[in-house]
């Protein structure tokens, strides 16, 4: 299922209508950040968050302390990110308290990221979108075997290849 119809179904959204006219403020997407070692991750997270916000979807970040600080100060006034959460506590809330996000983007550039994506797919009945980047993106992408639509680009410093890959999937608010 393409992302437009999947998001529309998940959130009961009319994506052709101005998000401001829609009453969906309780609906959130989870963006799971990996190690912030690769420079373009923060850019990609904020770009996807901005696109989600334009579609009227709340955005929640889960990440390591450094990843959270990068987002906190990159989006200092909270234009794109609604909540920033600890990654371990977010997983605990999903597993132990049944917290759910209809849509989940997992940012991946290493083996650990693959493990986090598989875990998110296993613990949540959500649409999972792995966003894979870095110099080994294709090899890393090949390790993801659960059913999902991957967003993959070989990119580390220049974000444009990954932005193009994101644009190829997220078409609804363009």
């Amino acid at each position: 299922m393409e992302i437009k119809s999947e998001i529309s179904a998940s959130f009961n959204l009319d994506l052709n209508t101005d998000p401001k006219e829609q009453n969906n403020t309780s609906k959130s997407a989870l963006l799971v950040m990996g190690c912030p070692q690769v420079p373009l991750q923060t850019t990609a997270v904020l770009y996807i968050a901005a696109r989600l916000k334009r579609a009227g979807i709340n955005t929640v970040i889960a990440g390591t302390p450094s990843a959270r600080l990068l987002i906190k100060y990159a989006d200092f006034e909270g234009h794109y990110i609604d909540e920033i959460k600890d990654l371990d506590l977010t997983i605990e809330a999903i597993v132990d308290k049944g917290e759910r996000y209809p849509l989940c983007f997992v940012f991946i550039h290493n083996d650990a990221g693959v493990s986090y994506a598989a875990t998110m797919d296993s613990i949540m009945e959500s649409a999972i979108y792995p966003v894979i980047f870095g110099s080994n993106a294709e090899d890393v992408s090949a390790q993801i075997t659960f059913e999902c639509e991957k967003i993959t680009a070989i990119a580390a410093h220049n974000p444009k290849p990954l932005i193009n890959a994101i644009n190829g999937v997220m078409e609804w608010d363009a």
Binding site: M33, G34, C35, Q37, G63, T64, S66, A67, L87, D88, I91, E92, I94, V95, D96, N110, D111, A112, G113, V114, S115, Y116, A118, T119, S122, I123, Q143, T145
Partner: protein, 93 residues
């Protein structure tokens, strides 16, 4: 269920991949169980690609511990409580 940081643990593999840890367990231990990703052991939710493998050596639990920036560690901790919980509630392979 205790806190992992407060228990004496040994790291068998560090900065490795999830599959390397799985292969190590299968090669070096006889009592192997599978658990779902998110399975809570001590105060840690296991992160991994299913099927997640965990090994027991008597009352010693050997399991993968993944951190985003450091990869997967294979950790060895003695806990009769966790060993019994695994034996009772998990699938043995």
């Amino acid at each position: 269920m205790g806190c992992l940081d407060k228990l004496p643990y040994e790291v068998l593999l560090r900065h490795s991949s999830f599959s390397e840890c799985r292969d190590y367990l299968k090669k070096n231990y006889n009592e192997i169980y599978t658990v779902a990703p998110g399975y809570k052991i001590f105060d840690v939710h296991i992160i991994g690609v299913p099927p997640v493998t965990v090994a027991l050596d008597d009352n010693i639990v050997i399991f993968p511990f993944t951190k985003p920036c450091h990869g997967t560690f294979l950790v060895r901790v003695e806990s009769e409580e966790e060993a019994q919980r695994l034996r009772k509630g998990s699938k043995k392979i």
